[in-house]
Symmetry: C2
Subunit: 445 residues, 2 copies
């Protein structure tokens, strides 16, 4: 993309309404614009990151054997009356009346709808195990929406639901979700720690939240620093293998990690003192096993191998897709702006032309642009007639991990400058070596 043809309305001033850094930077970097309280338009740069995160979630869910589908945003109130949650949900549920006076609502979650789909179409244990998921906009009518996309009203979430014949199968689904979530966050450059959690209005017996450490987190968290050394890395996971998945979960859930809601002071104090940590955390996902809580009242049963009708064991599993943009920025920024992890960056590499209009500099930039594109990378070329300082400031603000700077002086020596956004370190290289280096960085991913 050439900046001269893009729509990147960066702001020079700090917007007064933004109280936390991710909200401020998303507004300043031209990623979002508030449309009404807690509701945002995703401008091109923000939309691109949102899509990247969504794609990672899709890929990892499919890898785990989960099946993508899509439920609508608006639902009939009837199903929620059947489960008993229509009255429980309170004012956070946006209730709507259609032209025929029917009670509808903007779905805050989808346990009822998916259970209805299941009971309409599945009747035998032979059709299990089954995990369906979707990524869809949801709405919670927060009384005081704030912190930008971190606590908005209209938000994008992945929610998935497993249907299993018994507790043991459902626990494998639970573990599979934990592993797929760990993989997803790691690909996004995030360290998200699974912490035993309370169940809240969805109801559940087993549940873990995933928290990203950041000063602006809504929860106080207590953990054993040993957990920070764990990585999924390159290991090949067989999602059909119960023991494999259980072993990974055990690895991640053995070190102490709890939010203030479930904190156990005695267990925490049993950790060697030098490994005891307290911090703030941002919740970016949660997994639940809730057994037959919905299948029983809603009649979601299957015939088991002995011909008996039994309610299925279910769980639900969510990742806050739009919220993750905020969480990633909270965890990865500096005074100059955002620092995107390579896994989610909107463009792989910036190209800054120090002297737009100079024939040689222009040609060198075009050649870089063409070569990077031919390698399947997406560069963002600042081809505007602006001063170098302004171009650097924009690149630093929007946070592309790598920048190639091209100027007449360097070109005389046959070099361009490759700069890491994270470290600020630069090196001078012939253009083809700079390209190769950038390509290698992304090939590893």
């Amino acid at each position: 993309m050439r900046l001269s043809r893009y729509f990147l309305p960066v702001l020079k001033e700090n917007p007064s309404e933004a109280q936390i850094v991710s909200h401020r930077l998303m507004l300043r970097a031209g990623m979002i614009k508030q449309s009404s309280a807690g509701i945002y338009s995703w401008l091109p740069l923000g939309f691109k990151v949102l899509k990247n995160i969504e794609n990672i979630v899709h890929e990892e869910q499919v890898r785990a054997g989960h099946i993508p589908m899509l439920m609508p945003t608006l639902q009939s109130a009837d199903l929620w009356r059947e489960s008993g949650r229509y009255d429980d949900y309170g004012e956070e549920m946006l209730r709507i009346t259609d032209r025929h006076g029917r009670d509808m609502l903007y779905g805050p979650t989808n346990e009822e709808l998916i259970t209805d789909i299941f009971r309409s179409h599945v009747g035998s244990y032979k059709d299990l195990p089954l995990t369906l998921y979707h990524i869809q906009w949801k709405f919670r009518d927060e009384i005081r929406p704030r912190f930008g996309v971190m606590r908005g009203r209209e938000f994008l979430m992945k929610d998935g639901y497993n249907f299993d014949i018994d507790y043991e199968n459902a626990m494998h689904a639970y573990n599979r979700h934990m592993v797929s979530y760990l993989r997803s966050y790691e690909r996004m450059g995030l360290q998200a720690i699974p912490m035993r959690a309370d169940s809240g209005p969805i109801g559940g017996e087993d549940t873990h939240e995933f928290l990203v450490l950041a000063d602006t987190g809504e929860s106080e968290v207590f953990y054993d620093s040993a957990i920070l050394d764990l990585k999924i890395g390159d290991r090949v996971v067989d999602f059909d293998n119960w023991d494999d998945c259980a072993a990974i979960c055990k690895e991640w859930t053995t070190p102490y990690a709890r939010t203030d809601e479930t904190h156990d002071e005695a267990a925490f104090n049993a950790i060697p003192e030098e490994r005891r940590r307290t911090s703030r955390g941002i919740e970016v996902g949660q997994i639940f096993y809730f057994g037959t809580k919905y299948s029983e009242p809603m009649g979601a049963t299957v015939q088991n191998s002995e011909g008996q009708k039994v309610p299925v064991h279910m769980g639900s599993h969510g990742i806050g897709v739009s919220r993750l943009l905020g969480a990633i920025i909270e965890a990865s920024h500096d005074d100059k702006g955002i620092i995107w992890p390579e896994g989610v960056t909107p463009y792989h590499c910036g190209i800054v032309n120090l002297k737009q209009g100079d024939a040689e500099a222009d040609a060198a930039c075009e050649a870089l642009y063409a070569s990077l594109t031919a390698l399947g990378l997406e560069p963002l070329y600042d081809d505007r007639n602006e001063r170098a300082g302004g171009k650097f400031a924009t690149m630093d603000l929007i946070g592309l991990p790598w920048r190639i700077t091209v100027g007449p002086r360097g070109l005389k020596n046959g070099v361009v400058e490759l700069t890491s956004r994270r470290t600020g370190e630069s090196e001078e290289l012939p253009p083809e070596q700079a390209i190769e280096k950038v390509a290698q960085i992304y090939a590893k991913r």
Copy 2:
């Protein structure tokens, strides 16, 4: 995908609520499930086709230089009061009151919101031309939703908006959209004819609808059969070239083609009689130029090159993404089920194992599956323990364009059977030749 692990709830019976063939087939093929009146869940097979169509639209919009973003589903009523459309829209607009008593609505379209984004961020002619688009769920509270996804209440649409300095630039944007739409429909295997149209509530001076010929179409259409011979094909389009785009538009708009709303009997009768056609048509897209209709009342102005503030010239351009599934099926089916065009098919090729459990047949199917997958194709392997007749009926119903049938008898002679869903023709081939043939078919795309 292996059918034993998929969620494909096909129906044996014809659902009584479905009046038209696409609705019937989408229900029977397990693509959708009604959640409430005019609101559907997209089951895995339906979601996959929806995504394929969405991807084609995205790719062709980006190719034309248009910039993707995303506006929210819920909007504040204030902007619609500013444009004067809040009262005009009537009961089809779903009006919502939030917990603070603020008037909101579920967006049926986005002229107001995009104009607000534009006026907040763009001030100079130098930032033009600019075309922004998004693909988002919209809502129209139809009094009598029917025909499945063809006339639902919650529906997925691409809507795009161009901002230009003057009429001539806006006309190029108009032409660019027409060409990108023609390309999009052609890739979906559809012949969509641009027809001069009335403007409706969006208001407009120049506007064309795109109609797919089908008996169940809501509009009566009159056209010169010469238009059916036109193809974009492999020609390379330079979307920056005004003359190129205008020439293609001229080619497509010269033969007579009108809906009953704008039909001109005299002009129609001037066509040689053997080329005069009347038919029914399904609207799958529309492009509008509406000048300064929104930019003037809403103050979306830029400084022109002489330093004067002038309102921008706008247009809006829509493709009915979810509706297209219905339109494609209306245009492409037979008594046995759907016939997907290769461009949108959910899976590239079916594999039917005639004798599940036979070691040789199972191994041959697994080898085919692995080879097709390695070539970047997605096969759907019916590995269930079902009779051949049932497997064929399912494959015919869900409409994959190609099927490879594997049985012990053929394998003895070293062959499998490759069958075209469209023609029903089969040929016996060694497995590797069947793979090669399927790969070639999709490589051309």
